[in-house]
Amino acid sequence: MKKQNIAAIFFLAPYMIVFVLFRLGPSIAGILISLTDWNIIGDITFVGLKNFETMFRSGHFWTALINTGKFSVIVVPAVVILSLALAVLFNQKLRFRGIARAITIIPYVLIPAVTGVIWNWMYSYKSGILNYYLENAGLKQVGWLIDKKYALISIAIVIIWSYLGYNMVLFLAGLQNIPEELFEAAVIDGATKRQAFMKITLPLLKPVTSLVITLSFINTVQIYDQIYVMTNGGPGTSTMTLVQYMYTSAFKDYDMGYGSAIGTTIVVILVVVYFVVNKLFRTEVD
């Protein structure tokens, strides 16, 4: 036992030093800094909950929170439904399905900021190809990124496009974990394929679904890169998210305490969502 303690120190030290310094430490420190007034150069003063008070009174904060909420409400259900559909399709015995799967994942491995650049060009108002097709179809052109009404949904589409492949892989793994006999037995017992899918496959996919929802949510709350190159929060504040508001507060206005308060809020949101999703999906399975 004692020998193992010493060995453990040897094996853990390199990772733990980096982990505590650059991950665990900062995660905890963020909460403490959010209780202070600090502009990096000057002194730190403890101000209690003042930053949160300012935050809740700020119109920008609510805009950012609502925009982040809008993104989640659009992206999460779309990702769950579409990636499940993709997984079911690519789980069929089709020729070239391996290649098809591989292609579907490609958007996920591209630099998100660069994905934004590529879509910028598609969404271009005057010379974008999407508007060209719309015009050809006899429809009105859309100001994808320059119209307040459409900017948020346009970016959401890019996010969905990027994350579908990743979540499809999760669902595929889930599908392949379900023993085929279960499905076949149900069909033999007279269930239609659709019934078997609804009554057997879907319930057994619940753990994966809960994972996909949680991950999509985390991913949506943290989106920043694509927005930075596509609209930078605009037009107006119509695509400004919490992460962007935090970035501006901390690194443009140098208000570390206030920025950390926003960061802490993001943490709270993520933790709450995690527990809610888990509660909803786990209890029904057990």
Binding site: M16, L110, G116, W121, Y247, M256, V267
Partner: protein, 277 residues
Amino acid sequence: MRKYFRKILLYFCMVFILLIFMFPLAWAVVCSFKSELEIIKWPPTWIPEQFTLENYQYMLEHYPFVRWSINSMIVSISATVLILLFSSMASYAFARLNFVGKKIIYSSIIAMLLLPIQAYVIPLFLVVNKLGMRDTLSSLVLIPVANVTSVYILTNFYKTLPRELEEAARIDGCSYFGIYWRIDLPLSKASLSSVAILSFISTWNSFLWPMITLRTDKWKPLSVGVASYVGSFLNSNGFQYGPSLAAACMAILPTLIAYLLLQKNFVQGISNTGIKG
């Protein structure tokens, strides 16, 4: 007959989906080879009337694109190597050794799975600033090393290895390090490849952190370099699409190649994070 119809429908769906997925990329690649005049021409053309490399040339001549690529390479490769070493060592300890505080330490790591860097980036910046590492490549290398997914994947894998192997080796007088180095590491090649490709791609693609820590243009990785080029023109009239598309095409090529080469491991890596969770 009905079965036949169904098959055709499925293939039709497949082709349609693939078109949607490939469309933006294909369009960007095509346009990156057009002259600026042709790019904004109406109606747009799918085959460049005049195939030109001028956008690539412009980008390479006017911006430190090569330097950015080298930075991205250095950072992603070093981070990946360190992640493989540090995470596999830590995972070995979590899977195989009994030590004081194991549960608490491991839980504190797993809890961090939930928090993306956006949630703790401000204090992280303050730590890095205090250590005098701000605006250096090493700050780009070390932050991904504190990654949690790799420890999670590898610990789960090492737990599946039969204990008998290890016990036999212990009887033969093998040290813990010997077991880790000569038995567990070689056996976990597939998992290590998964971790490697996931780490490489996520480091290559990272954006927010490099953007916060870096001030000097010549240390920028590709993601920030390309984005700052585009960002500096956002909502202004002088923006040229051609060079930005050429830059985009060049910037995504390395991860694309890495992904295509290690595709199986990449997919396996994603599935591994899911199944046991």
